[in-house]
Amino acid sequence: MKNRLKVLRAERDWSQAELGARLDVSRQAVNAIETGKYDPSLPLAFRIARLFGMTIEEIFDDGGDHG
């Protein structure tokens, strides 16, 4: 699943380790999500969205038609 996590993280000048600590996950988990190798669970997706003050849909794109 595509996402804007890397861009959002870079905008705040956070490292993967820092974002991981803020989300209480490992640096590898952040890397796996950013590179699309792992799709986060719904609770983690909500934590990510809350941290950036956005909705899940604004961060994650499943490629589906939202119309």
Binding site: E18, A21, V25, R27, Q28, A29, Y38
Partner: protein
């Protein structure tokens, strides 16, 4: 600036605490294995051979078996508690790979043995293969 510094220290502290929790569980399991292995090696009958039956005292065999089951059971549960969801998925996939090595490996070996092509299936080799399979799977899923 000061607030930013405090936030920096906070996330670094949380990251260290998180890693420490995982290291504690893995370290405790490693220590149990080390002590258990040392005791078995110390009390083992040297003349009986490494894989021979009745080569360690009964009390040590029973104690080691109980400690192993409790340590692995409790350790696995604890490790799942301190891991994040990505690591839990990796652990689950790794266990599936290890189980499949056994489930596919034994019948394959068994049928080849029935045909007289290979020696009788050996549980130790199958166990070792499943461990190797799980280590490779863990490295693949964790670091790819």
């Amino acid at each position: 600036m000061m607030e930013a510094t405090m936030v920096d220290q906070d996330w670094q502290m949380r990251a260290r605490q998180r890693q420490r929790r995982i290291n504690t569980v893995v370290g405790a399991l490693f220590a149990v294995g080390l002590v258990s292995g040392f005791l078995v090696g110390f009390f083992e009958d040297d003349e009986a051979g490494l894989l021979a039956a009745n080569s360690i005292p009964l009390w040590l065999a029973v104690t080691s078996a109980i400690v192993f089951v409790v340590a692995i059971g409790f350790g696995s549960w604890k490790l799942m508690k301190v891991s994040d969801e990505h690591e839990r998925v990796i652990h689950t996939k790794t266990t599936v790979v290890a189980g499949n090595v056994m489930l596919i490996g034994f019948p394959t070996w068994f049928i080849l043995w029935k045909g007289g092509l290979v020696p009788e299936p050996d549980a130790l080799w199958l166990f070792m293969a499943s461990i190797i399979g799980s280590v490779i799977a863990f490295a693949w899923y964790k670091f790819r």
